[in-house]
């Protein structure tokens, strides 16, 4: 039989297997190769909470979904065209994700009696043998056998041979989508460089998988997804956490400040710490503190000393930092607090995504303690959003919250990377030595109400700051009732005034007046964009605005909302932005909420939009 090639504008693949099966690695490799092929793409890695959950069980299933296409892609796909499963549990956990008539590629060894039992299939039932998958196109491959045969005589042990299974599968998928093996071979050589026999084994297995496609006649149809017609420019592939790390380094470089990160490891934020610690040649100091509190307070110390100081964490860690954030507000020192949000409350869902820390960021402190809050909307946007957070922190002498989430942190997209010269300048204003006899006023303010950064080492500027209420301008301790009220209002006004220095809220797409405005923030961007696009194409009167400046809001936001009959606010929480909008603007905005630890699908958003527009 001849192989035929199907031409598609987009495709979605879901790789799934045991967390020890190398699924994430295979997914990452497919992503990089696909990016270099020129497709637009979006990914969604989905990890189990345990590092090594019991093998073969549903709890241990790790997944990696990628949507790629020759058109613009904003989400990792609601449903997949192809489901690659390494075992029975992976099939059981993910079958509902597969489109009707979709393709299943199953590793037969993962469907032996033991695996079937672990996946809790009833005795005697094997889905890949009993015809229950007839609505799909099922391809069974004995990956284990093939891998063993490939590496026969390599001298490697069973365990090591077993570990290359993912490469066989990856090679086979590369064949289906007609992709080059080059990037992955390069990666293998780099990763296992010190062990040539392992490099050899992996490359061999990868190629074996590819050739298997060619020769086996198992798979009749190859799929061609051409390079995407996206904005011209230079691209690379990027995940949210490294993009955040790069944004911080860029802000340090552009402001001329040394970068300091105080951090305590926590999922899903740790990768920012890992990434930054690799770039010491940029003068980056990373400090793995003894706890979350030391992470932020060491950063406050570094900020006092004149560094661009950062602390990274996720919800539970942020809760621990709360008192210190209040201190930073009193000290009015630049500081960027990064929350890569995950499902809460408490330990919650460490490996799942959620947007439920918005109110914590905006309001969650003792006393009247406002600070600016910035949220990123896509993996690549983490770079720009955190850069902006640094700019505001430095230029307005204030701690700033930066919100990312697990989905952005681990998700990938092609990124039109910037040239450093094009980045907005960031200007740190330091207090300078005064003429003899003049008294330094540490809390004297400029037109932004920012105070000058007075860094130890400058003669004549010796001064004391602290958490007790400050007297206006002098910064001395003051218990004066009028001064306290004045200072509370001044600090609030200082944050409000940032609205004068940020861009107006834009409409992302859709008419500037109409029936429905969908307002989102953070990582829901891609799903909302896709849904609104489809609704517009279907003739609905709907527009989309995505907020980056969560506090203060852009000045035109109230006016903008008035141009529509309804405002819909989809959020991966129980309704937080919607409360803020209703509170501030008295608009009858309606929430649309999903609190499942997984992103919105554009389909569910589209359904909702259709009921209102």
């Amino acid at each position: 039989m001849e192989n035929t090639t199907l031409h598609a504008t987009e495709a979605t693949i879901l790789f799934a297997g045991d967390s020890g099966d190398g699924i994430q690695l295979a997914g990452d490799q497919f992503t990089n190769t696909t990016a270099l092929h020129g497709n637009d793409l979006s990914t969604f890695p989905n990890f189990p909470a345990e590092i090594r959950a019991p093998q073969g069980t549903l709890a241990g299933v790790s997944g990696f979904q990628i949507k790629f296409g020759s058109t613009e892609i904003y989400t990792p796909g609601d449903h997949c065209d192809m489901l690659v499963v390494m075992n029975a549990a992976a099939l059981k956990a993910n079958l509902k994700q597969l489109k009707a008539g979709g393709i299943i590629i199953a590793n037969t060894e993962g469907f032996d009696p033991k695996n079937l039992r672990l996946a809790k299939y009833p005795d005697g039932v094997n889905p890949i043998e009993d015809g229950s998958l007839d609505a799909f196109r099922l391809f069974k491959i004995d990956v284990t056998k093939m891998t063993k045969a490939t590496l026969d005589g390599s001298g490697l042990g069973t365990k090591e041979i077993d570990r290359t299974k993912n490469m066989f599968v990856l090679g086979f998928i590369y064949w289906i989508y007609n992709r080059s093996l080059e990037t992955t071979i390069k990666f293998i050589e780099q990763k296992f460089g010190k062990r040539p026999e392992i490099v050899d084994a992996n490359v061999k297995t990868l190629k074996a998988g590819y050739h298997y496609g060619e020769t086996s006649e198992t798979f009749m149809q190859r799929v061609e997804v051409k390079a995407a017609q996206i904005a011209p420019g230079n691209y690379r592939n990027i995940n949210g956490n490294p993009a955040t790390a790069y944004g911080l380094i860029a802000a340090a470089q552009k402001s001329g400040l040394p970068l300091f990160l105080g951090s305590y490891p926590i999922t899903p934020a740790s990768d920012i710490l890992h990434e930054l610690s690799r770039h010491k040649n940029f003068g980056v100091r990373t400090f793995q503190a003894e706890d979350e509190i030391a992470a932020i307070t060491s950063a406050i110390g570094a900020a006092f000393g004149g560094s661009l100081a950062i602390t990274t964490s996720s919800g539970p860690g942020i809760a621990l930092k709360t008192e210190a954030i209040g201190l930073a507000i009193m000290l009015e020192l630049p500081l960027v607090i990064i929350n890569v949000q995950r499902g809460g409350p408490s330990t919650g869902l460490p490996t799942k995504t959620e947007q439920a820390d918005l109110l914590q960021a905006v309001y969650g402190r003792n006393g009247e303690a406002p600070l600016p809050v910035i949220a990123a909307q896509s993996p690549g946007d983490c770079f720009y959003a955190v850069y902006e957070a640094c700019r505001i922190a430095i230029e307005h002498s204030t701690p700033v919250f930066f919100l990312s989430d697990g989905y952005l942190a681990n998700g990938a997209e092609p990124w039109q990377y910037p040239v450093s010269a094009d980045l907005k300048p960031i200007k740190a204003v330091f207090a300078e030595a005064l003429p003899e006899g003049e008294k330094f006023l540490p809390y004297k303010r400029d037109e932004k109400l920012a105070r000058k950064w007075a860094v130890p080492g400058v003669k004549g500027l010796e001064h004391r700051i602290g958490g007790l209420e400050k007297e206006h301008e002098t910064g001395n301790i003051s218990y004066d009732p009028d001064n306290h009220e004045f200072m509370v209002k001044l600090r609030a006004e200082k944050v409000e005034r940032i609205a004068d220095y940020i861009p107006d809220q834009q409409i992302d797409q859709g008419p500037s007046k109409g029936k429905l405005l969908v307002i989102g923030w953070g990582s829901t961007y891609g799903a909302i964009k896709t849904a609104v696009k489809a609704a517009l194409e279907a003739g609905h009167s709907v527009a989309h605005a995505h907020i980056r400046y969560m506090n203060p809001f852009p000045k035109n936001l109230g006016e903008l909302m008035k141009q529509y009959d309804y405002v819909l606010v989809p959020e991966m929480n129980n309704g937080q932005l919607v409360r803020m909008l209703r509170d501030k603007y008295l608009v009858p905005a309606e929430g649309f909420n999903k609190i499942k630890g997984i992103p919105f699908t554009s389909t569910e958003l589209l359904e909702k939009i259709k009921t209102l527009a």
Partner: protein
């Protein structure tokens, strides 16, 4: 970096006094400590603008407001962590931490031990008054067992910390004790602490005359001081008593109080600051003087070790990274190693 010209300090103790009214209770031991610090600092060859005092919360933590240097009065227990971040990023600064027994050993215990093991080059002055003063008289982690306070009307059932044993256990590299009532000794120890490269911990017995008056009386009052204290000096035998008539001998690992009539000074325990094991034994001279026979309480430098500091090691890594990879190139970083071009 010395600013001492012809041995005349660039500034005097008076220049270290701020315009802020000192708000400790009259008679508080903090006054004396403030005075000794202000006296010693001008003699250290530091530039005033490169000195930073950082404190947490508690009576003693008001200290930075009274020092005309850079300073931060921070939040409870965190001065150590704040100072760590400052010193790591600004190694050239002279950083002093002012803390109390509650601040460093209770709410800030974690940062305290971690700073010590990292050996960040700061000076920690731990004002130990064995009570919570600012919150008006609850027992502290150094209060003795059975202590009756507002929060322990039937007596405390908390076994107290032995602060210096804790410091040594936390890998501290400079371990010393002094007291508010002995200005000369305190000044000497402060100078030593400043000279030490690494985390210097000075426990200072400080009388809280309002909530715990006389806690250290036996060590500070003339009538008992000579018999109850042991002033240790490197290379010198351990001798104490009003007539210098008692000494400490060490038999294997077992110390013993002996009469000088029975032994010669050469047979006594000769204090060796670099001996970690013996320093450990000295920190265990911690019996309650009220409870029968006991060792005198040692004052002075127990232990001093020359170990690399965190900030110098980190600085070296930064330099090594530049040597190996060259100074960071932002555009190369943003580009990464796998790029492609989309043509218009």
């Amino acid at each position: 970096m010395s600013t001492v010209v012809n041995d005349i300090p660039a500034f005097t103790a008076k220049d270290l006094v701020t315009d802020q009214e000192v708000r400790w209770c009259p008679g508080c031991g903090d006054y004396s400590i403030l005075k000794q610090v202000q006296t010693v600092i001008p003699e250290l060859g530091l530039k005033r603008e490169e000195i930073v005092f950082i404190s947490g919360i508690g009576c003693s933590s008001r200290f930075p407001y009274y020092m005309e240097t850079y300073g931060m009065h921070s939040i409870h227990g965190r001065a150590t962590a704040i100072a760590s971040g400052l010193k790591i990023t600004r190694p050239e600064l002279s950083v002093w931490i002012i803390t109390g027994d509650g601040d460093s050993l209770s709410i800030g215990g974690n940062h305290f031990i971690h700073l010590l093991r990292r050996n960040i080059d700061v000076n920690i002055l731990l004002f130990n008054n064995e009570i919570y003063g600012l919150t008006k008289g609850q027992y502290s982690p150094t209060s003795e067992l059975g202590k009756v306070t507002k929060s322990t009307p039937m007596g405390s059932v908390d076994h107290p910390f032995n602060p210096l044993a804790l410091v040594l256990g936390a890998e501290g590299t400079f371990v010393a004790r002094s007291m508010d009532r002995d200005p000369i000794h305190l000044r000497t120890v402060l100078k030593r602490a400043n000279a030490h490269k690494g985390a210097s911990l000075v426990e200072i017995y400080q009388n809280c005359n309002v909530f715990n008056d006389g806690a250290f009386e036996v060590f500070t009052e003339k009538s008992s001081k000579a018999d109850e204290t042991l002033f240790i000096e490197h290379g010198q035998p351990l001798v104490f008593g009003a007539q210098k008539d008692k000494g400490i001998l060490i038999d294997g690992f077992t110390p013993r109080v002996v009469s000088m009539n029975d032994v010669s000074a050469n047979d006594l325990w000769i204090h060796d600051e670099t001996d970690r094991v013996k320093a450990g034994i000295l920190t265990r001279f911690f019996d309650d003087p009220k409870n029968g026979p006991h060792f005198p309480r040692p004052f002075g430098v127990f232990y001093a070790e020359d170990r690399f500091t965190y900030e110098t090691a980190l600085k070296k890594q930064l330099e090594d990274a530049i040597t190996a990879k060259g100074a960071g190139d932002l555009d190369a970083l943003l580009r990464g190693s796998n790029t492609w071009q989309v043509k218009g």
